[in-house]
Each structure stands twice: as structure tokens, then as C-alpha cells.
């Protein structure tokens, strides 16, 4: 069977160079798809903590093929991990046939005006994902699609009823738990255009999701059917939008919540104002024990069914990505505010636009008290303890079409014990660190289609008294980057990070006291070249990459330090 699909893929690819997207075979349908392959070499580097990799070279490859004929779509994805890259779960290489090769995703879909049927693997989101969201994020090795059946009914325009049942993908196997759920979504504007005034939109929805997993634990009575439901409402009036969502889950003792028999709940409220030149948004989120998986024993990134993203700004500047925040599924209370303002052209600042973005977010712990071995009490309001705090500003100023300056300043407070899961509850081991970050980016474009972008970043980190620090990544940082592009095909980039003011702990053999002594600086140089031809992109890079956390969209995963050559190929046909 695998050979048949490989052949189909080859047929599709061989036709590809002649057409921009998809291959239309007359009277049959359209084939389209994409290929992505990432290969990396690893050299052991004890200075930066890069581990020894016996395989020396690791790779991930994905080939997606879609066939479409009118209302019918068929598709599959072929994956090959030889072995999975570091930072990607190694079970991709050890489950299923154990060869790292397989077709873990395939589906048949039929869509009509009033209904849609999908058999096989599918992705789905109910509301904002608080009880159910299945999606794929390849660069993080994340794919939690459900393999089963999904039905969607649209009896009237604006009303959508979705139902599904199936098992979730678990690497190259299927989960132990069976997931089923239903969702109702009402879009009043679509149902009746005249019911609401012109500039008013209203959406309401409700969902239920439940999991069945047998209880084979001899020591505890575990619930075999776990139910989670949520309701949501979203109202927009002219430039103002207000949205709220509430989710509830019955008792679900699992590996991630320490086996508690408490129920879980989450509340999310969001308001925003958007008019030309000024955008303001504010949000608040309270989560208490809402981690929901298709297998109660799964940990880390495996088997998640819902999506609880961090209520903080997603930063893209390299140095600050050393300390990203990830939602604590056991409980947190967060708030965020965001303002984007563009000072129009011709103002006192000069001829061109200036855009200012301000953002602040803070995440508190919940105020909980343990009542017995399996239950705890949680107050609605937050505890004084702060997990994360972020205040930042970014200013972008253009000067004509050929020059632009971006500058930004970020200040964060980061509770390393809780966020990185490195200490006992309420223990201060790594403490709360404060990071100050500043950067300037200069962008020049010449008239001949070449552009040069340079970034200068600095981050100063300060720690609490007497705490431990990460063995490799501690101290302050400076980074310089230069990227030169030649439209439309070439990108050259060089960058280097310097970690200075590092210290190592030293234990006095007599008194047992631990003090810190200066340690050597570490440099992380790196270079890459990328070539783009229409939908083909090939990038080759070489250098030392610091270990850290990679975040794409709403989720993050730890990636160990590495030293070596990397090759990334991406092609859409």
C-alpha cells in the first residue's frame, strides 16, 4: 500500500514543474501537494550542552498529496523520520512499524451545500479550542489529528452542527482513549441579514467532548468517561468586539494534574477596539485544571485534545525567545492588554508613518489549598505569586520606500521554577529572573532588488539572591545579525550570539557553601544561504545553535543545543 501512495506522489510531482499549483488531469481532477524535508547533522559540543548523537545525522520528511474532484477530496501524508530530529519526540521513530516510515494521515472528504462528511484523519476546532482543537504544527513535531468520522450539518446558512468520533493519532499508532464530541455554532448575521443592524455581528456556540478510556489501575477508581463542555459568545458592534468563553471538565485524574479528582474549568474574556490607525485589545483568562488528553497517562506534548495558548505576546526577537511562557494547565490567572497606534504621514514626526505597539501581560498563580490527597480548593481570584510578566514597546519608523528602523524594548519577569518545571511546588530553586531586552533593526533596500537587514540585540538577565542558575544559558547576551537578500531568489544570513557574564557554581568543600565564579563566554556563530524559485525553497545552514525553546504559533517545545549543518527543503506543487 505504501508503494502505491509513493507512486501516486511521484506521478503528481513529475507533472509539477509545468504548472504553478496542482496538476489538472482532464476529466479526472486536480492533484496537488507539498514536500518538506529537514536534515540536520550533530556534532557533540560539551561547552554548549549539545549531546552526543550516535546517528550523527537526523531527518524528518513529509509529503502531502491532495486529490480534488469537485465535491470530493482525498488526501494523505507520508512521513519519514530517519531518526526524528532532536527536540522532536523520538517515538515517531519507534512506534508503528518501528522504521519511522508510514502514512499516519489519510482522509476522504465530501462537501456539499448542507453537509460535509470526512472519513479518516481530520483537524477541527470548537470555538477557540478550549475543549477541542486538533491541528498540525510540523516544525514542532505536533500532530494530534483524530482518526475516525466527522460530520458537519449546515441546515440553514449560519448554523453549523459538527459531530465526530474516533481515536487520536499517537505517533504512528492510535490513542488508547476514544474521543467523541459535538458542536453547535450559530452566526446570527448569516442566519438572517436583517435581524441585526448593519454593523452588528453576533456568534454563539456550545460544544461537548468526551473521552472513554478503560480503568485498569488496581489502586484507584478512575473515571472511564470524562466529559468536557464549553459555551461561547462573540458580539461585534461597529469597531468594538466583546467575546467570552467558558469551559468545564468533570474529574479527570491524569499524569499532568498529579492525579487530582477535582473538576476543571476555564474562563476567557476578550474585548477589542479596532479603527483605522488605532487598535486596542484586552483579554483575561483563568484556567484551573483544564488539561484534556485522549490518554490520561500522556505527558508533555503527547495526546493533547484541547488548546490552551499562553496569554502573552509572541516575541520573535531571537534573544528574548530564551524565556517564553507556556500555559500552566494546572492553573493560572492571566491578563493582557495591547495597543497598536500609527502616527499618520505628515505629522510632526516627518513625512512617513510611525507605528507604535505597546503590550503588557501578567500571569498569576491560582490561590489553591489542598483539602485531601485527591482534592484542592481554588479561589476565583489570583494569588500574589507571579509566573510571568511582560511589558514591551515596539516602534517602526519608515523613511521613504528604502529605509526603515524598528526598535523595541522588552522587560520580563520569568519564574523559571514553574515555567520550566524544575522545582518542587513552592520551592525557590531557580527563582524569578528579570530580563531586560533592547534591539534596533535597520533595513535598507536598494532600487535594484537587493536589501540588507541588520539587527543588534542585547539582553541583560538578573537573578534573585542565592538561587541556582541554568548550567549553560546564564548571564547576559548580545546578538548581531545581517541578512542580505537578492530578489527573487537569494537570501544570505550571518548571525552570532554572545553569552557573557556567565558564572558557574562552586561548592566550598569545607563549609559546603555554594558561591559563583566567573565562567568563560560562549559564542554561537551561524550562517545560512537560502534559494527560492517560485514554490521551491532550499536552505543550507551551518553553525552553533543555542539550546532553548522553539515556539510556533501558540505552542512551544524545548530544543536542545546543536552544532552542525542543516538542510531544509520545502516545495509546494
Amino acid at each position: 500500500m505504501k508503494r502505491m501512495f509513493a507512486l501516486l506522489a511521484l506521478v503528481a510531482i513529475s507533472y509539477a514543474p509545468s504548472l504553478a499549483q496542482g496538476v489538472t488531469i482532464e476529466d479526472v481532477g486536480i492533484f496537488s501537494g507539498s514536500l518538506q524535508s529537514d536534515v540536520q547533522s550533530y556534532t557533540e559540543d560539551t561547552t554548549i550542552g549539545a549531546p552526543e548523537v550516535p546517528e550523527r545525522i537526523l531527518s524528518n520528511t513529509f509529503v502531502n498529496v491532495l486529490f480534488n474532484r469537485g465535491k470530493l477530496t482525498l488526501g494523505f501524508r507520508f512521513e519519514s523520520y530517519q531518526n526524528p530530529l532532536l527536540g522532536i519526540d523520538p517515538r515517531f521513530g519507534t512506534t508503528g512499524a518501528g522504521t519511522g516510515i508510514g502514512i499516519p494521515f489519510r482522509f476522504v472528504n465530501y462537501v456539499d451545500d448542507y453537509f460535509e462528511v470526512t472519513a479518516g484523519n481530520f483537524y477541527e476546532q470548537f470555538g477557540s479550542g478550549m475543549v477541542m482543537r486538533t491541528y498540525e504544527e510540523r516544525n514542532l513535531g505536533f500532530d494530534n489529528s483524530i482518526d475516525g468520522l466527522r460530520l458537519r450539518f449546515m441546515p440553514v446558512q449560519g448554523m453549523k452542527i459538527t459531530g465526530f468520533i474516533g481515536r487520536q493519532r499517537a505517533f504512528f499508532e492510535l490513542s488508547e482513549g476514544i474521543m467523541r464530541g459535538a458542536d453547535l455554532n450559530l452566526d446570527l448575521k448569516e442566519i438572517s441579514e436583517t435581524f441585526l443592524p448593519d454593523d452588528v455581528y453576533a456568534n454563539f456556540g456550545a460544544s461537548v467532548v468526551s473521552r472513554y478510556q478503560a480503568d485498569q489501575n488496581p489502586f484507584l477508581n478512575l473515571p472511564e468517561n470524562v466529559l468536557a463542555w464549553s459555551t461561547r459568545a462573540n458580539i461585534t458592534v461597529a469597531d468594538v468586539m466583546l467575546e467570552g468563553e467558558y469551559a468545564y471538565k468533570i474529574n479527570d485524574p491524569s499524569a499532568t494534574n498529579g492525579g487530582t479528582f477535582n473538576s476543571g474549568n476555564a474562563l476567557y474574556v476578550n474585548a477589542s477596539y479596532a479603527s483605522s490607525g488605532l487598535g486596542i485589545s484586552a483579554a483575561m483568562k483563568r484556567i484551573d485544571n483544564m488539561d484534556f488528553r485522549s490518554d490520561r497517562t500522556a505527558t508533555g506534548f503527547a495526546q493533547q485534545v484541547n488548546f490552551l495558548p499562553a496569554l502573552t505576546k509572541q516575541h520573535t526577537w531571537r534573544l528574548i525567545t530564551l524565556y517564553p511562557y507556556a500555559t500552566q494547565p494546572t492553573g493560572e490567572f492571566g491578563a493582557q492588554a495591547d495597543v497598536t497606534y500609527t502616527i499618520p504621514k505628515g505629522s510632526f514626526l516627518g513625512e512617513d508613518e510611525t507605528t507604535i505597539s505597546l503590550n503588557a501581560s501578567v500571569i498569576h498563580a491560582l490561590d489553591t489549598t489542598r483539602t485531601d490527597a485527591f482534592h484542592y480548593d481554588a479561589n476565583f481570584m489570583w494569588d500574589d505569586r507571579i509566573f510571568f510578566q511582560d511589558i514591551n514597546i515596539e516602534i517602526v519608523r519608515k523613511f521613504g520606500k528604502n529605509f526603515k528602523i524598528t526598535s523595541s524594548y522588552i522587560n520580563i519577569k520569568y519564574d523559571q521554577d514553574v515555567i520550566e518545571g524544575r522545582a518542587a511546588i513552592n520551592e525557590t530553586k531557580y527563582g524569578v529572573l528579570t530580563a531586560d531586552f533592547a534591539e534596533v533593526e535597520l533595513w535598507f533596500k536598494s532600487g535594484k532588488g537587493t536589501a540588507l537587514r541588520t539587527e543588534f540585540q542585547w539582553m541583560g538577565v538578573s537573578y534573585q539572591e542565592g538561587v541556582e542558575r541554568d548550567a549553560v544559558n546564564n548571564g547576559d547576551w548580545v546578538m548581531v545579525l545581517a541578512e542580505y537578500s537578492i530578489s527573487p531568489a537569494w537570501f544570505f544570513s550571518l548571525f552570532s550570539e554572545l553569552n557573557y557574564n556567565r558564572t558557574d557554581p562552586v561548592k566550598d568543600p569545607v563549609t559546603g557553601e555554594v558561591t559563583r565564579v566567573d565562567a568563560e563566554n560562549i559564542i554561537y556563530p551561524s550562517a545560512s544561504v537560502a534559494y527560492v524559485k517560485n514554490a521551491l525553497r532550499v536552505q543550507v545552514g551551518y553553525g552553533r545553535i543555542r539550546g532553548g525553546i522553539l515556539c510556533v504559533g501558540g505552542i512551544c517545545r524545548p530544543v536542545p543545543a546543536s552544532n552542525g549543518l542543516s538542510l531544509n527543503v520545502s516545495y509546494t506543487f
Binding site: 531518526n83 532532536l86 519526540d89 523520538p90 517515538r91 521513530g93 519507534t94 512506534t95 450539518f153 441546515p155 440553514v156 452542527i161 459531530g163 499517537a170 499508532e173 492510535l174 488508547e176 467523541r180 464530541g181 459535538a182 461537548v208 468526551s210 472513554y212 485498569q216 489501575n217 488496581p218 489502586f219 484507584l220 477508581n221 478512575l222 473515571p223 472511564e224 468517561n225 470524562v226 466529559l227 463542555w229 468533570i250 474529574n251 485524574p253 499524569a255 479528582f261 497517562t297 500522556a298 505527558t299 508533555g300 490527597a373 485527591f374 518545571g421 524544575r422 522545582a423 518542587a424 511546588i425 513552592n426 520551592e427 530553586k429 548550567a471 557554581p505 562552586v506 561548592k507 555554594v514
Partner: protein, 283 residues
């Protein structure tokens, strides 16, 4: 419209009924007492751990709970220290519990890359999972113990306290016929070692006098052992293997706290452990 409303309502009702709210979390396990002397299936529970792994002591406790419930002759625990959490970190975690055997096992099964604590239960794939997280150990061990054994094992040994030499004779008794991929391995483990361990259940989480049990110290005959027979073996046959081992010079292992663990596994094919047995090294 009415049909859809009906479908929707029934779906919601079905969902609402699939809802188990538990009032009493604790279940008292019923372990039937089997006094017959026939051969029983034992379980090898490999706990892959490390001294800076803060979540690992909790897993070690789960393993101990199972050992207490079913008996340490039936649930045989081996703690394999390998991966980044087992790396010595002077000055606070100076001990090196890693072994060549442990490193090779960890690299082959890629367990520490999936995280610690994690374990293998008779190296069996259950519900699509080979690597078992600690919450799976209780159901997996219970299921394995209930299986009908296909092999009996006997372990005889001599221990010379002066030269610290061990001579071992392992006898594999084929209750059911076996194939040529049966390999026998004999390991040496030590318990009662006091050293530093991170435990996130306590504040401060650095425990200086943690009691390490069942630590894998060495293999007497290589990581994967030796082949029992190059040809398939019929039921009723017995095959014996002998091997010797001497404590490395300068080692501080305490012989009265050591155990010999012998097991037969299917090497290169199904990987699963067929039978396992444990014996104290010295009194």
C-alpha cells in the same frame, strides 16, 4: 429543521450520559493468593531514571508499590540510570550511576529522548505503547502477571567474598516451544545506595540522603546477552548457560545489597521479555 434538532438533542443526551463522576477515588486491590508451586509469569519493570530528574522518585515509589503488592519475586525492578538526567553534576550531584549497558539500552530504545521517568514493562508493546509512563505501570504489570508463562528460569550461583567473583548457572526450562531469538541476560543490581537526588515533591528538592534501590551496575554477559539456542527448541527442553563475573577492582559495591537478575528476551524480533527471575547475591 426538526430532524436536526432531534439529532442534536440526542447527541447531547448521549454525551451527558457518558460522564463518570467519582466519589471514592481509592480502590482496594484484590490480589488472589495463589499457593500452588507452579511456575508463574514474572515481570521485569525497567525504570529509566536519573539523579537530577525531579519527577523520578515518584515513579520509583509507584514501582515499589507494585513490588509490595505482588511480591518482589514477581515484580522485578531494575533502575537504569541513563540520559541527560543521569549525568553527574558536581558539586551537588557528583555520583555517576551510568553504565555502558544502561547507555546502550537507552540509545537503542530512545527512552531519555522521550523524557524521564519512563519505563519498560517486560519490553512489551501495550495499546501501541512500548515506552510506558509511570501511570501505565500498574495496569501493564497487572496484565503481564496474569499471563500464562511459557518458560521457567532457575538461577544458581557461587559467590566468593574474598575475590569478589561470581559464577552463575542459568537454566531455562521451556514450558512451551521457543525460537532461536531467545537470548538470556544476567544483570547485577545494587540497592541501598545513599546519594543525592532531585525530588520535586519536597522543598528544597535536593535530597542529599536518597535511598537508591535496584540500580543496574553491570551485565554479566553483555547488553543483549547470549543466544540460548541457534535452532528452535521444543517444549519440555532445558538449556543451561554458565558465566562468570568479578567485581571491578576498586568498586565500592556492597555485596549483601546486590541482586542477580536473569531474564530471557527475544532479541532482534519481538523484543519482549519471556521470563525473569531474581536472586540475592550474598547474605
Amino acid at each position: 429543521m426538526k430532524t436536526f434538532a432531534f439529532v442534536l438533542l440526542s447527541a447531547v443526551m448521549v454525551m451527558a450520559m457518558s460522564c463518570d463522576v467519582i466519589d471514592n477515588p481509592i480502590e482496594n486491590p484484590d490480589v488472589p493468593i495463589d499457593t500452588t508451586t507452579k511456575v508463574k509469569q514474572n515481570v521485569l519493570l525497567e525504570d529509566y531514571t536519573g539523579h537530577t530528574c525531579g519527577n523520578c522518585p515518584d515513579a520509583a515509589d509507584v514501582a515499589h508499590q507494585l513490588e509490595t503488592l505482588y511480591g518482589s519475586d514477581r515484580v522485578i525492578i531494575v533502575a537504569v540510570h541513563a540520559g541527560p538526567f543521569a549525568t553527574p553534576q558536581p558539586p551537588t550531584y557528583p555520583t555517576d550511576f551510568r553504565t555502558t549497558v544502561g547507555n546502550e539500552l537507552d540509545n537503542t530504545f530512545k527512552i531519555s529522548r522521550a523524557g524521564n521517568p519512563n519505563g519498560l514493562v517486560n519490553r512489551v508493546t501495550r495499546n501501541g505503547k512500548f515506552i510506558q509512563s509511570k501511570d501505565n505501570w500498574a495496569p501493564a504489570v497487572t496484565a503481564e502477571l496474569a499471563k500464562t508463562p511459557t518458560m521457567g528460569l532457575k538461577l544458581d550461583h557461587t559467590w566468593n567474598a574474598t575475590t569478589k567473583a561470581i559464577d552463575v548457572t542459568v537454566t531455562a526450562d521451556y514450558i512451551a516451544g521457543g525460537t532461536e531469538d531467545y537470548y538470556v541476560v544476567v544483570w547485577l543490581t545494587e540497592s541501598g545506595i545513599i546519594s543525592d537526588q532531585t525530588d520535586y515533591r519536597y522543598d528544597p528538592s535536593h535530597i542529599e540522603d536518597y535511598d537508591f534501590e535496584h540500580v543496574l551496575r553491570a551485565s554479566l554477559n553483555g547488553t543483549w546477552g547470549e543466544q540460548l539456542s541457534t535452532t528452535p527448541v521444543a517444549a519440555g527442553q532445558k538449556i543451561t548457560k554458565q558465566m562468570s563475573y568479578t567485581f571491578p577492582s576498586g568498586s565500592t559495591w556492597n555485596p549483601s545489597k546486590c541482586d542477580l537478575v536473569a531474564f530471557v528476551h527475544r532479541y532482534g524480533t519481538e523484543k519482549n521479555v519471556v521470563q525473569v527471575i531474581k536472586k540475592k547475591l550474598a547474605e
